[in-house]
């Protein structure tokens, strides 16, 4: 099954070439094989069993689950020591929905602790290595999901995306990462990081699989008030490569190499490659325009994200007291027990974000930081919505190049490249549908391109990606260790 798509596997299952049990066992074996090198998994679900094969495309096929999702009777840690023994008694809605479709979860994948990180290096079970080059990051936070899908151990794995947590690792691992419109998939059962930004999505090796998987998860959920009814939308059936006449824009400020005073070779190649991709779009009959956005607004992106996400996170994760679940702390009073649990359980990165979150919410700081961040978010979204009146979607290079080295410190980007590095956060600010697909190589490592479109217009975004994917040779590509 290694490397096969959902459609291929479904055909093989239907034709009796393989059984669901065989697929599941093969997938489990493959998980074990890549674990030593990539450290993708918190849990490999060895007792997973095949399921009945029906006409449902997802039936009988194994998949991976980011360990931020609650899985009934299966350890769900959020890659945090504060939850290192937590076994939920209910499934996240997206997992439950996939179960209904007959999909079989075979592994729980490593993430940056509680989704808060973009390197894949901060999970409690250790660093996730990029299967293209083990010295490189996968990016995060959906690190294990990206690495394992890139290795082909199953056709898809669940991810969650608060800033770019699906779309950045997808690029670094040479695969597809799709974050649907906010509220299309229920967040119930997904450990919350920043509720107004958190989105459930999927990592795959082609656009079709991404559409099929999200079709299987989406829908109104009585347990999540932010979900909306998408029953009239069938993403897979709507896929169509005829995108002639579609209109894209890119932000010239950050996509034109001439705007960088001292660009790295990687950035030059990456943006050059992006130009090639734009040409491919134009060959498909898509018009691509460049726009400039007030750099003040762009420069505010990262701090806006930090303030809002940290503020929400510090409150969302206040439930991790160790009192009714989690390993718990020692102490003579409840206060001491909570303090001990959290002091021992959280990594320094998380603690720093909690401090930031608390600081910006403090009475005397709230107006200046938190409320202003919300206002800037509104300004950015207004600007995007204005552009979306004219254009179908935005096209952007993902990050500033290929995967970084594991010891690279993400928090010391140079100021000039920071906007490009964090650009995809726009997708979370507006709840926009956003998909990354591989568009080439820099230094023998994969790089990605992203399409972000209008709220609830996931179909257009997927179709543009679908058409663009067909002009390149990266569909269904598997990680090859080149160095």
């Amino acid at each position: 099954m290694i490397g096969k798509s959902i459609l291929e596997l479904h055909d093989e299952l239907k034709n009796g070439k393989v059984t669901s049990n065989e697929l599941v066992n093969e997938s489990l074996k493959a998980c074990h094989e890549i674990q030593d090198k990539t450290n993708s998994f918190v849990t490999i679900i060895d007792d997973a069993k095949g399921s009945e094969v029906t006409d449902d495309l997802l039936s009988g096929i194994p998949y991976g689950i980011k360990d931020i999702f609650s899985t009934k009777d299966i350890l769900s840690t959020g890659s945090s020591n504060t939850l290192n023994n937590y076994v939920p008694f209910f499934d996240a809605t997206c997992v439950a929905n996939l179960k209904k479709h007959g999909a079989v979860g075979v592994a729980k994948t490593v993430l940056d602790e509680l989704g808060m990180g973009g390197t894949g290096t901060t999970g409690h079970t250790g660093i996730v290595h990029n299967p293209w080059n083990l010295e490189r990051q996968t990016a995060g936070s959906s690190a294990g999901s990206a690495a394992s899908v890139a290795c082909g151990v199953y056709p898809y794995a669940l991810g969650s995306d608060t800033g770019d947590s699906i779309r950045k690792p997808a690029a670094y691992c040479g695969i597809v990462g799709y974050k649907p419109t906010y509220g299309m998939i229920s967040r119930f059962g997904m450990f919350q990081f920043a509720s107004s930004l958190d989105t459930v999505g999927v990592l795959t090796r082609n656009v079709e699989d991404a559409a099929i998987a999200v079709d299987g998860m989406k829908g109104l959920d009585e347990n999540d008030m932010t979900t909306w009814d998408s029953s009239s939308i069938n993403l897979f059936k709507s896929l169509n490569k005829d995108v002639k006449g579609k209109k894209l824009f890119y932000i010239e400020n950050v996509c034109d190499i001439n705007n960088y005073s001292n660009p790295s070779e990687e950035l030059k190649e990456h943006l050059n490659n992006f130009k090639e991709t734009i040409k491919r779009c134009e060959e498909l009959g898509i018009s691509v325009s460049k726009v400039n956005i007030d750099s003040k607004l762009l420069n505010a992106l990262y701090s806006t994200y930090v303030v809002i996400s940290c503020a929400e996170a510090t409150s969302n994760m206040a439930n991790l007291t160790g009192i009714s679940f989690g390993p718990g702390g020692e102490g003579k009073s409840p206060d001491e027990m909570i303090k001990d649990h959290r002091t021992k359980g959280f990594s320094p990165l998380i603690k720093r974000r909690f401090v930031i979150g608390s600081y910006v919410l403090q009475r005397e700081n709230q107006e200046k930081f938190f409320l202003n961040a919300k206002r800037v978010r509104r300004l950015i979204v207004n600007k995007m919505n204005e552009l979306f009146k004219e254009y179908d979607a935005m096209i952007a290079p993902v990050g500033t190049g290929p995967a970084k080295y594991i010891d690279d410190n993400k928090n010391v980007h140079d100021k000039e490249t920071r906007v490009l590095e964090e650009l995809l956060q726009i997708g979370n600010f507006g709840g926009y549908p956003s998909i990354t697909i591989p568009n080439g190589f820099v230094n023998n490592l994969p790089v990605g391109v992203n399409i972000t479109g209008k709220v609830k217009d996931d179909v257009s975004v997927l179709n543009i990606a679908y058409a663009l994917e067909s002009t390149m040779n990266y569909k269904n590509q598997l990680a090859r260790e080149e160095n």
């Binding site: 939850l83 967040r187 059962g189 919350q192 347990n223 439930n319 007291t321 009192i323 919410l361």
Partner: protein, 475 residues
Amino acid sequence: MYKAVIGLEFHCEMKSHTKVFSNAINGFSKLSNQLVAPLDMGFPGTLPVVNKTCVKKAIEMAMILNCKIPEYMEFDRKNYFYPDLPKGYQLTQFFNPVGVDGKVVIEVNGKEKEVLIHDIHLEEDSASLDHYYDTSNIDYNRSGVPLLELVTEPCLNSADEAIEFLEYIKRIYEYTDISDCDTKKGQIRADVNVSIMDNDSKELGTKVEVKNVNSFDSIRKTIEYEIERQSKLKSEGRYDEVVQETRRFDDETGTTIHMRSKADAIDYKYFTDPNIPKYKITNELLEEIKKNIPMLAHERKNKYISEYNLSEYDAKVLVKNKKVSDYFEECVRLGADAKSACNWITTKVLAEVNKSDEITIDDVFIRPSMIAELIKLIADKKITNNQGKEVFTKMLEEHLTPVEIVKKYNMEILEDDNLVNSLVDEVLSENEKAIEDYKNGRTNMLDYLVGQVMKKSRGKANPVDAKNKLLEKIK
């Protein structure tokens, strides 16, 4: 003497089928941790889903208090760590409460008093803690129970005013079925703010907050104690010892005790909950809610006075408790004369209810249908008024209906004129002396003679009828 200034924060647990943000049952259980959904324990990934009934009830209450109602319903997080707070924050309404700037007029010792409402908001209760010698248990049954918190302006000036206001609010909660306000189940709690100032001063004194006072009686004692404590210090020239602080009421001593000072005040870092999309309160919704506000205590009182000609006093007694008022209205609905029903209820039925703190009018065996039946028996002259009282007592003792009692004891009034006439004749012939006395001016002898007729009829004669017949024959 100084002028006291009192503000109240009155928390009341609401009645609803499920909790305010989860689908666990909102009810009372003697066993711990029976009524709990994953959200109520703050399990990772669980999300709040707003209970629409609670929202409607909260809007209804805001309307009744004449509050301004915001355009959108929103909830905010109040963040702090405490073992009884599983999510690490309480969902409440801080920035946009469901009602602000309200006003009600109440009557205190015969005088009208305007009470200003700062706001009313919908929020969730925390879990409860049971402390033992060396451990504490957390009971999540209460976690997520809907609460309405009503905050007054500092506009009350005495314990009487405060209690009268709370009684007024409690009646509204009962009449609208928003809450039972059952103290025994811990359904009400108040934070009481008290300060004092010179009578001619315009500047408010130092505010002292007493937290979590959980009965009207304790609230009264708290206010009285604080006024006395602060006044004493002020009159002794030690007013600087009154500091802005949080105290608690101690039931045993009837005093208040320091808990924490202003400097220890927590910054709750309020922010709007991102999991609950803001919800537009439409005019249609407001109209629908308005239409369904039931008749409240003071409206019922006015109706009883104007339509049923009851006295102000009786009307007040009837509406003081909704169950009593409902009982009365049911009697009237079943055809009982309103005044008679009122008399039976205020004298006999309530006397039964008042025998024990444990019962309400709903626990009394005699139902409105029986009161109506009893009144009808008397009105139809089937039994006398005095017999009626006897029937009432026997109903309680024997758990039978009035008709059954009358039948069992053969109590029906003699309507056979001849029989009554012969009894009257008998009495007249046996009591010549009495007749003599009566004619000589001892008019009370007539009552004696009537009594003799009643005795002979074993109470079944109509005493008015007997009296008329006696008079006729004595002449």
